[in-house]
Amino acid sequence: MKARKRVVTDRVRTAEPSPPPRRTAARGRGLPNARPSTARADQPRVPPAALRAADVDLSIDLAPERHGQLVLGNPILVASGTFGYGIEYSEVVEVERLGAICCKGTTLKPRFGNEPPRVTETPAGMLNSIGLQNPGVDAVIEKYSALWASWRVPIIVNVAGESIEDYVAVVRRLDGVPGVAGIELNISCPNVGKGGLQFAVDKDAAGAVTAAVRRATDLPLMVKLSPNVADVRAIARAIEDGGADSICAINTLSGMAMDRARRKPLLGNTYGGLSGPAIRPVALRIVYEVAQVVRIPIVAIGGVAALDDVLDFLMAGASAVQVGTALFADPALPIRLIDELAAWCAARGLTSHRELIGAALPPGKGGSGHGRDRPSVKGVEYRP
């Protein structure tokens, strides 16, 4: 086989289907994918020709320290703010096949959001300045948690706030709610005045809010990085040290557009967050940088619009990807990506997409060039 011969997956279960994703902490414990079984490492690899797409194991654990509390059936998530609460697209998308749904940013109190217009198209992307419009955490739980609990797909609730107390209060209310599989901490929204971004641009603040939320809940915790900083690596490290289970990169880039006819900024909020293919190279660079300094799984987000983008992010060190802007044009894209990824892996004899994770990282930095002495948490084991 290829250069990846020394790499073996930690879960060589080629014939088994992926484990079903789990929704609650209680149901998740003790299920069979917690730790790698080293006994299987000596066995010969399955010959590539025998692989069918259905045999490829696309499952991924986004909270390896939490004993399988957040094991996704596949690594394709839908991004917060683009998929509402999951129900909006359910007429045209098989939502339950998704790896996970990150719901719209949720705050303690209801928020009206920013002045319209709130969205506009830009070259290969779009600007949005929604401003975290949402009915507040209590209303979200009341309205959607029963539906979420009935779904097979894990729901990761995106949480935003203006202060550490806000974040903690929201997370406390979500803790133990049926249907809530995890928390995505939005410390990087560029569209709100107070709070929002301030936590993502300072490593001490990022670490503090992560640690405070970590103490408040046992739910798997993913923290979303902002690209609007000079060096994300220190912030990523602080978030890992704060106890996050995974890191999500990246949020939107701050930008603006002009209304030439009216000679004023186009968006009601003046500034908006840029998303879409335009920011993909930035996201790729940040994922690549972060993957070299943290051990927790990375969820890549930023302009994913095709299978090639998914592969790029996996090779840069991401364990999973989120699809956002691209699904406005093509709501069927996330489901198609799952099938395409399985087919791509099968055609190359990969038993799991996990073999790709970090393949492009430099040797000794999580890359596949040389072994490293610490155990990987990205689902890939290296022989010493």
């Binding site: 683009t82 007429e91 959001g113 319209p116 969205v119 044009a329 093509d330």
Partner: protein, 287 residues
């Protein structure tokens, strides 16, 4: 709501830079109502990432076709204008909520400003089919932008106003409304927001001008308590319904990008709208 491939059957430039395109989409033709819209995907390779929303302009159930009417305003519509018959477009629809016409309404007044014709055009057909009389007031900048009467059913009473006076009434289309408001049981409008705001002001004063008695249960239709704002029933009771426009992202209610100010907070044009009762919208004061 469905994702479908609709074949373009015909594309006509009916006015300078304004196109009327007919698509074969039987499911949309039989399953949509006047006021609803479709979200059309533009090609990826041009770097466009958003779909474009279009009101359903006319529907032919027997032929299984729908048409849309648009003006070239940017790259997306430019691309659409170049599409040739036989091409298949990726369409999401029908979306949004339709106009709600009261069962007892005999005479509908449609008010359209410019491209707003696309928003109310389908209701003319629907009302005629239901045996109602239709008066259509249309406003444009000049004679060259007036919607051709040949494209309207002959039964429609068509009254034109132009800003420069080159055809019909010299002035805004809203100037014509007081002449017709007494005849019409309900009014439906689509056009620039200042026009809709002016109509909403006219509609508020209509009962007083006409001496309409507010009778009936719970004090009549002006009472908020007689039905939750925004329900189909409440809209059916409203004299004026408007079709609103806003930059749109997902068009299914997920992204909250297309909101406008409602009296009870932000409302999504794609989900609660695009049709609203005039009293649901918090109109800006005239400049």
């Amino acid at each position: 709501m469905r994702l479908l491939d609709a074949e373009l059957l015909e594309s006509r430039e009916i006015l300078p830079a304004q196109f009327l395109q007919t698509f074969h989409a039987p499911w949309l033709a039989s399953g949509s109502r006047a006021g609803q819209f479709i979200h059309v995907r533009t090609p990826d390779y041009s770097g466009l990432v958003l779909r474009r929303p279009f009101s359903i302009n006319t529907v032919n159930v027997l032929a299984g076709t729908i048409s849309i009417h648009f003006r070239i305003t940017g790259k997306g519509t430019e691309w659409m204008a170049r599409a040739r018959p036989g091409e298949r477009l990726d369409v999401l629809g029908p979306l949004g909520r339709p106009f709600e016409v009261d069962r007892r309404t005999h005479h509908v007044l449609l008010v359209a400003g410019g491209l707003g014709m696309a928003g109310v055009r389908a209701l003319a057909d629907e009302s005629l089919a239901a045996g109602r009389r239709v008066t259509l007031l249309f406003g444009a900048a000049g004679a060259s932008e007036v919607y051709p009467s040949s494209l309207l059913p002959t039964e429609v009473e068509y009254v034109v106003a132009t800003d420069d006076g080159s055809l019909g009434h010299h002035g805004f289309v809203t100037d014509l409304v007081p002449e017709y408001e007494a005849l019409a049981d309900q009014a439906f409008a689509c056009g620039p927001e200042p026009m809709l705001a002016a109509l909403a002001r006219l509609a508020r004063g209509r009962d007083a001008r006409l001496g309409v008695a507010r009778l009936g249960r719970k004090g009549g239709r002006s009472s908020r308590s007689s039905g939750a704002l925004g329900t189909a029933a409440a809209r059916r009771r409203a004299w004026l319904q408007v079709s609103m426009e806003q930059n749109m992202g997902c068009a299914v209610g997920a992204c909250l990008g297309c909101v406008v100010h409602g009296v009870e907070g932000p409302v999504r044009v794609c989900r609660e709208g695009p049709v609203f009762a005039a009293e649901e919208i918090a109109w800006e004061a005239p400049a």
